[in-house]
């Protein structure tokens, strides 16, 4: 097990390095530069040249990259060109909001999809099954922003149960904070719940046909003990590992949901940076999202390897 984890962790370094190069180069390919965008109508060539020299944008690209990467390693992620705010400070302040949103979305997705999947598998091809799986099909076909808009329409504007959009920090008023998080979490979690419910159903159907489940029934155990204790505990492993891998993708979805619901997470910070051509800000944003994404995927792979010996031994052979 040790060598497998070491190998996977070591692979993180080239990935993060590659990502940093890609994002650095791509930002430089974007038409326009931060100084020109910032100055707007105040633009004067000599002023722009001076400002560029001050923030180091006049140096060759490779030097700029070297400096940025070196500082990144020491924990200095640079300052926003437009506002002068420390990028790291700002991101660390906003990241918890995004992670909280993801955690809520995951909890929601698992809570509704697991029972739905089990019910569908226990009564396959029944009305219950068709109903639940049709809702799941709708969920899969709904982009996050659309489910967000629908939820906003129904629960905020029509029924008035929850606030439509915005944010309130948990330190001020916890209840208000949670109220603001409900709709975004459901909007983000619903498409995942849909896929997860389908996976749970498929996995349960496969397991229910196995011999050991028949044996459990033959022993005279009650149907629900057979389903929940014997079938479910085995059937849940593949869907859960899939869900683990989805945490990474939720980071991307969270970006969209944050923008729809005006939540001040890292997405809004990054998007504003994109429009302002603010290199350090966008670079910091994409780096953090990618690192979170890669790290979560690694964590899930390692956990899965712990559960399934075939993966570890396969990895050692290779």
């Amino acid at each position: 097990m040790g060598p497998y984890i070491v190998k996977r962790v070591l692979l993180l370094f080239p990935t993060v390095f590659g990502v940093s190069v890609v994002i650095f180069v791509m930002m430089r390919l974007v038409p326009g530069d931060p100084i020109t965008t910032m100055l707007g109508l105040e633009y004067r060539p000599e002023l722009a040249t001076q400002l560029k020299r001050e923030v180091g944008l006049d140096q060759p690209l490779i030097v700029q990259y070297g400096k940025w990467a070196a500082r990144l390693l020491t924990g200095d992620w640079g300052k926003s060109v437009a506002s002068g705010i420390q990028v790291r400070q700002e991101i660390l302040r906003k990241l918890p909001v995004t992670l909280e949103l993801i955690a809520f979305a995951m909890t929601f997705a698992i809570t509704i999809s697991v029972p739905a999947g089990i019910i569908s598998a226990v009564w396959p091809n029944s009305m219950k099954d068709y109903g639940l799986m049709s809702v799941a099909m709708l969920g899969i076909s709904m982009p996050e922003f659309l489910s967000g808009v629908v939820l906003m329409l129904v629960f905020a504007l029509q029924l008035g149960w929850l606030p439509a959009a915005g944010y309130s920090p948990p330190s001020e008023n916890l209840l208000a904070h949670l109220k603001f998080m409900v709709l975004p979490a459901v909007a983000l979690g619903f498409p995942r719940a849909a896929i997860l419910a389908r996976l749970v159903r498929a996995s349960m159907l496969e397991v229910i046909g196995e011999d050991y489940v028949k044996t459990a029934r033959a022993k005279g155990l009650s149907e629900w003990v057979v389903i929940l204790r014997h079938a479910f505990s085995n059937a849940i492993i593949p869907p859960l590992s899939w869900m683990g891998l989805q945490i990474g993708y939720l980071v991307g979805g969270a970006v969209v949901v944050e923008i729809v619901f005006l939540i001040p997470g890292i997405a809004t910070f990054g998007m504003d940076g994109i429009f302002a051509r603010d290199y350090p800000r966008v670079q910091g944003f994409v780096m953090v999202i990618t690192i979170v994404f890669v790290a979560l995927n690694l964590l899930v792979d390692v956990l899965y390897a712990l559960l399934d010996p075939r993966i570890r031994f396969g990895a050692q052979k290779a």
């Binding site: 080239p14 099909m137 659309l146």
Partner: protein, 298 residues
């Protein structure tokens, strides 16, 4: 697809696996109701996009200042938006953007992903190593983020969105085809083709490729659904289709502010996105069931 069919010399014919043909595809599709509904929706979408000018002859960008924020009625079937533009016309014309992006996405991701996957799986070695690392690198970005950055680099627009989403999904096909090629190249019909003296290109495109068509078709359909979602999402964020071109994602975003004034001009673009994505997903689902050899005898 028939042109892809294997053309072995008579003495190898015995060991050739039967590649997928259009006729077989339809025979299997017939068994799945989901696939048929999906196929129907997709065909309707395609026809709507092709004949948008005939179905809704008006100009989607035309503003009738006398008829702003109208509810659905005889004159404006789906009402008008706050600028007096006909929602029906915009939704119908919006299908063009969606279908264009979906097709461009599939064209780029298949066009690059398939040759890469074939070459990597067949030759292995350094090329495979480099390509696999590059694909890993691309997959270490969340899809939306990568597409967003590419759109910003290329400048917002319909074609840009198609290109960006296409690039994002190259790894999906490259990996799929590489994995199939790795197994297929050891199969007897490929060894036989090699023994007969077929060139590598001929083996790759006429022997191996036709035999990995089934998973490619299924993923392709599902990725077209993703492409529709991505186009709508990017346009919703202001990075995709630019006004005055009608796009469902952008229209939904623009009309959201005037939701209470003219709800229909927000709801129908949203409904259009949902139905379109649903169509591709159902088709993909049905295709998966009917092409999966394990499920064929059920």
């Amino acid at each position: 697809m028939d042109s892809f069919a294997a053309q072995p010399s008579p003495d190898v014919e015995v060991v050739v696996a039967r590649p997928l043909t259009v006729v077989m595809l339809f025979q299997r599709l017939r068994r799945s109701r989901t696939a048929f509904i999906g196929l129907f929706i997709v065909l309707v979408l395609l026809l709507t996009a092709l004949f948008a000018d005939i179905i809704a002859p008006g100009n989607p960008a035309e503003m009738q200042t006398s008829a702003r924020s109208r509810s659905p009625g005889a004159e404006h079937w789906l009402g008008t938006d706050h600028l007096g533009r006909d929602t029906f016309t915009r939704v119908i014309h919006g299908s063009r953007v969606s279908m264009y992006v979906a097709l461009l996405t599939i064209f780029i991701s298949l066009g690059i992903g398939i040759p890469f996957g074939l070459a990597a799986g067949y030759y292995e070695g350094v090329f495979d190593l480099l390509l696999s690392r590059l694909m890993d690198l691309m997959m270490s970005f969340p899809v939306v983020i990568l597409a967003m950055v590419i759109t910003v680099v290329l400048g917002a627009g319909v074609t840009t969105v198609g290109v960006a989403v296409g690039i994002v999904y190259i790894p999906a096909f490259a990996r799929l085809v590489r994995a199939s090629t790795l197994t297929l190249k050891e199969s007897e019909f490929v060894l036989a083709a090699r023994a007969v003296g077929y060139s590598d290109l001929r083996i790759l495109f006429f022997q191996i490729l036709p035999n990995c068509m089934a998973p490619i078709i299924v993923s392709g359909t599902v990725i077209m659904a993703y492409a529709l979602i991505m186009e709508a999402t990017l346009s919703f964020l202001g990075l995709g289709t630019q006004p005055p071109t009608p796009s469902w994602g952008f229209d939904l975003k623009m009309n959201l502010v005037y939701l209470e004034l003219s709800p229909s001009s927000t709801l129908f673009p949203g409904l259009a996105i949902l139905i379109a994505v649903l169509g591709f997903n159902m088709l993909g689902d049905g295709l998966r069931d009917s092409l999966d050899p394990k499920l064929q005898h059920r």
